[in-house]
């Protein structure tokens, strides 16, 4: 099984994860809906997770996969608190438009 994996060069995983990360950055820049922006952040975290897991498998080092596990823990906590804040913002502004949240600028 793992011999079959090694027919895939590690570079493929690097470029693939880079592409997913850049799509996440693009989504953060282009979307106004705060929920979709949070989802794009999740996508960026997943791109990094995939790269960590790929290097962990190729180098036979379990610490990379442990790191992915902890990133998932932090991502879950972040999603819960972020969505709580979003619901609060929606109660006050009746919208999830992030361009309305510029009070600190004035």
């Amino acid at each position: 099984m793992l011999e079959a994996i090694q027919t895939i060069p590690i570079d493929y995983y690097v470029y693939y994860a880079t592409l997913l990360f850049v799509i996440g950055v693009f989504g953060v820049l282009v979307r106004k809906n705060a929920i979709v922006v949070l989802m794009c952040v999740e996508l960026m975290l997943n791109a990094v997770n995939l790269l960590l897991a790929a290097f962990s498998t190729y180098l036979s080092d379990a610490q990379g996969q442990i790191m992915v596990f902890f990133i998932m823990v932090v991502a879950a906590a972040e999603a819960a608190v972020g969505l709580g804040i979003l619901v609060m913002i929606y109660r006050n502004t009746k919208s999830t438009d992030i361009s309305l949240l510029d009070n600190l600028r004035h």
Partner: protein
Amino acid sequence: MRGKRPTNRLEFPHYSNILDSLLMAQYIFLTLAAISVLSALSMVLSKNPVHSVLFLILTFFAIAGQYILLNAQFLAVVHIIVYAGAIMVLFLFVLMLLNLSKEAEPQKSSVWKLSAAITAGMLLVTMVGALRGGIEVNIPATPNSQVGLVENLGKVLFTDFVVPFEIAGILFLAAMVGAVLVGKRDLRM
């Protein structure tokens, strides 16, 4: 020679099986990569937020497939449970709760969209250009295929990483209390 031909015929399919499985890994990798990249793009570009969530779930399933391909079984299971099972359901739930429709979806101006696309494209070009010089890692010739299994990861997690694991529990507790407090309508009991 003619007498040996049946054994050759028996050996040949076995050999082609190995060859097929070698190429099969690449086919699976490329298919999953294409699915995840296309659905990630659809997530960013679709107008309806509910469609965005569903496309992101598809992306996460493709990434879980990549974990299985990497023989990281524990990560694949945890990824499906945590992301597809918990986080995306939470997103979908909030989206339904706020009742956001396609018409209420705020749109950025096309100048902003173009500049965002150019920025992201330049980031991609920069990162790929930086990585093109070659990634120097000493990949061992005989990798240990057991590294991603639950048994091995459990041993590492509960010996070398016990303290971070416990701190993760405290972090979850703090996040839970924080989310409840933030979501409460009035803070007085």
